[in-house]
């Protein structure tokens, strides 16, 4: 018997915003033609694409011609890293990045290293915050082509000191790429970046739409085979109906962001304090104050992460985990590893516009019993 579902994994994919649904359906009727062609249907599609780009640019605080749509946040991150490195290859071949970047950025870094480049990870502290001294030293070294810093951790919610990191980059003349997937549409964006990416399904847009913004004056060279669409930065036809839905829902999410932050941040605080108080032997991780308003992470000692996810799912709760047993590589999350915090029994809870106080209360009411039950089964009570 499964209980009524409570979806708490918005950091992976937020439920579609009603505005996204409306815009998607309208654009399926109206925006199916190729916007590059020279007939009436194409001009209509072109208008929709231009309007989507204009709206997205406005929300990000950039010019429309600085914005390209991609087929996911992952592709946007790949293009950001590899394109910015290619644009600066005469200056150097070193990529400096935080140790807690999303795997999309780390995999692009691996590709760069395989091609003969260098990648320098910069550590974070126990709360998951960038070591600014190490960062400043790393970006000042000779031959640095690009620095990459996530706006806020997708795994533990800690907001990164982007303004300070950007200042160090500016001093060193190094462009900064910010993966803002967890921030766009939720919190104000930091300044000082040259390249920024985001992902629509994090803010209630459809999956399969990413945003790549490259500021004027940034040397960026496409790492993909030539294609002139999307300013030459993303090859292939964009999924126009999904892009239209992404832009419309971004505008709606950004308009509500301050109110949503005010509503969700106290719920996150409540989860942090109640879990720490009511579940024995738990480590609540991430910065207690400098954090995203919608995401909270904790690890339960002696509990297997996958077993915990299944037990929560049976009670109707959908959450994520950075535990190794839940990853295909069988390695613990590199983020928890970099922070030096407990990696097993890990749960990430992330809230969205449909999350109510009652959902959070039900989760908090059931969690201690679920963890206690698993510990009793495993015979680890009292250790």
């Amino acid at each position: 018997m499964s209980a009524s579902p409570v979806y708490l994994d918005a950091a992976t994919a937020a439920p579609a915003h009603p505005v996204a649904r409306q815009a998607l359906l309208a654009a399926l009727d109206d925006g199916w033609a190729d916007p590059g062609k020279l007939y009436t249907q194409a001009r209509r599609a072109r208008q929709l694409l231009d309007a989507a780009r204009e709206a997205t640019a406005q929300t990000l605080g950039v010019r429309a011609d600085e914005v390209s749509f991609t087929s996911s946040g992952t592709t946007a991150a790949h293009g950001a890293v590899l394109g910015a490195l290619a644009g600066r290859r005469r200056t150097g071949s070193t990529l400096v990045h935080s140790a807690i970047e999303h795997s999309a950025v780390l995999h692009a870094a691996e590709r760069h290293v395989a091609a003969g480049g260098t990648a320098i990870p910069v550590p974070v502290d126990r709360l998951g915050r960038l070591d600014l001294d190490a960062w400043s030293a790393a970006v000042r070294a000779p031959g640095v082509a690009l620095a990459a810093l996530i706006s806020a951790s997708h795994e533990v919610g800690t907001v990164q000191p982007v303004a300070e990191a950007a200042a160090a980059c500016a001093d060193a003349g190094v462009p900064l790429y910010v993966d803002a997937a967890q921030s766009v549409g939720r919190v104000p964006l930091p300044a000082g970046w040259s390249v920024l990416t985001a992902s629509a399904h994090k803010w209630g847009g459809p999956p399969g739409v990413g945003v790549l913004a490259v500021r004027k004056g940034t040397r960026w060279e496409s790492p993909w085979p030539a294609d002139e669409r999307e300013g030459g930065r993303t090859p292939g036809s964009v999924n126009l109906p999904a892009v239209v839905a992404a832009a419309a829902s971004l505008r709606a999410a950004a308009a509500d962001a301050a109110a949503e932050e005010a509503r969700l941040a106290p719920l996150v605080d409540r989860i942090r304090s109640r879990v720490a108080a009511e579940v024995p032997d738990v480590e609540v991780v991430g910065d207690p104050v400098l954090r995203l308003p919608h995401l909270v992470t904790f690890s339960c000692l002696y509990v297997d992460g996958e077993t915990l996810l299944h037990a929560l799912d049976r009670r109707g709760f959908a959450v994520s985990s950075g535990s190794s047993c839940t990853s295909s590589t069988l390695r613990p999350s590199h983020v928890l590893e970099a922070m030096g915090v407990l990696s097993h029994g890990n749960v990430r809870v992330s809230l969205h516009r449909e999350t109510t106080e009652a959902h959070v209360e039900r989760f908090l009411a059931e969690l201690p019993g679920i963890v206690a039950g698993l510990r009793a089964e495993a015979g680890v009570v009292g250790l």
Partner: protein, 75 residues
């Protein structure tokens, strides 16, 4: 050198941490226990357990028997 060795090779996390947590209260204070564990999560979780339990994490080494973690019982 460790006073005793706890062989948790082949065990997936959290089992090595559980084994350490079971063993530590049974050894005299001051004893150094070496946990052999080849699950990559042990490298994070054994030091984290020591911090949460106030036990002393001495060192992580990789010897002929694979990755090993030395813990001293302090209380």
């Amino acid at each position: 050198m460790p006073d005793e060795v706890l062989d948790c090779r082949g065990q997936r996390c959290p089992l090595p941490v559980i084994a350490a947590a079971r063993r530590m209260p049974q050894v005299p204070i001051g004893t150094v226990v070496r946990v052999l564990a080849d699950d990559p999560a042990a490298a994070v979780d054994i030091p984290a357990w020591c911090r949460m339990r106030g036990q002393e994490f001495l060192t992580a080494i990789t010897g002929p028997e694979g990755p090993a973690y030395d813990i001293r019982r302090t209380h």
